[in-house]
């Protein structure tokens, strides 16, 4: 009696076993209800996968390909697709704000240097995001150290 592992069932369905191994699997199937159940399950999954229809790209894609447009940059088509016009406006950057900033730059060239308290900000974000959402998974980041000082 060899050390037969359950994955032999997939190999069995895929016709990947030699005659001796097949006989072993069949022997085990005759004895084990569990193996029979797993076989049925895997057969069904395998069947569903093999029954998945072929899919095809849009005709424009093939038209482009057959027209001979060489794409040398794998990401170029993706980036081209993602480039899109902006649809929103920044709300508060009105003329008044611009004027304030311009005046500020002229009058006070030196700006205060600020080092954001990153750890504290991540906690504030975690706290707020845990409201109206899953609490534990949102607060979990507060409970662990993670940001070097």
């Amino acid at each position: 009696m060899s050390d037969l592992h359950e994955d032999a069932l997939s190999a069995y369905l895929d016709g990947e076993l030699d005659a001796a191994a097949r006989a072993e699997v069949e022997g085990r199937l005759a004895e084990s209800a569990e193996w029979r159940a797993i076989l049925d399950e895997v057969r069904e999954t395998r069947g569903a996968l093999r029954a998945l229809p072929q899919v095809d790209a849009a005709t424009e894609f093939w038209a482009r390909v057959l027209a001979g447009d060489d794409v040398v940059d794998l990401g170029a088509t993706r980036r081209a697709k993602e480039r899109r016009p902006r649809v929103w406006k920044v709300v508060a950057a009105g003329a008044a704000a611009a004027a304030v900033i311009v005046v500020g730059v002229i009058a006070v060239p030196e700006r205060d240097k600020v080092a954001p308290a990153v750890a504290s900000f991540t906690n504030a974000h975690a706290a707020r995001s845990s409201v109206n959402a899953d609490v534990v998974s949102n607060l979990a980041s507060v409970g662990v150290p993670g940001l070097g000082r």
Partner: protein, 167 residues
């Protein structure tokens, strides 16, 4: 076609759907699948000179897989063969012998896309591209035994989709 060697255009026309299907099941989304197919066709064009008539679809499947894996490696800069250490990817308990699971598959594609890549690639190559374990092992550079166990485990992980189908 001359001497049994197809032209690049013939490959694209006659086998494009096969190429795209494998690419789509591997990549999980349209845009990446299109990129994969285009890159694969570039390699096909270059490789046709050396192509020896045989299993064309096998050759194409291998090219698409290599493109996919190259892209994964490019994105990760590390070996793809290591399975993530993830104890929650546990197989469902073996069904009771008399339990009927006659539900039709729903959203199997989404489930495939959710599978870790180390399971997804062998399953797609076996059940979508119809490659043998030997061919898959050669394509991925892993032992046949590993191919077998990943296919089996990948199929069992997908089983949940067949029985949990949404209304």
């Amino acid at each position: 076609m001359a001497d049994g060697i197809p032209t690049w255009e013939e490959v694209a026309r006659d086998h494009g759907r096969f190429l795209y299907t494998v690419a789509y099941r591997l990549a999980g989304n349209e845009q990446d699948a299109q990129d994969l197919v285009q890159e694969a066709l570039i390699r096909v064009r270059k490789g046709l000179e050396r192509y020896e008539p045989g299993s064309l679809e096998g050759w194409l499947a291998r090219i698409v897989t290599n493109v996919f894996l190259d892209e994964m490696r490019r994105r990760k800069r590390r070996p793809t063969s290591a399975l993530p250490d993830d104890p929650d990817w546990v197989l469902p308990p073996a069904p009771a012998a008399d339990e009927a699971s006659r539900e039709l598959p729903t959203d199997l594609q989404a489930a495939l896309a959710g599978l870790p890549e180390d399971f997804r690639v062998p399953v797609v190559l076996c059940d979508v591209a119809d490659r043998s374990y030997e061919q898959i092992a050669a394509s991925l550079g892993i032992p046949v035994g590993t191919v077998r166990s990943r296919i089996h485990r990948g199929r069992r992980l997908l089983r949940g989709v067949l029985t949990e189908g949404a209304a």
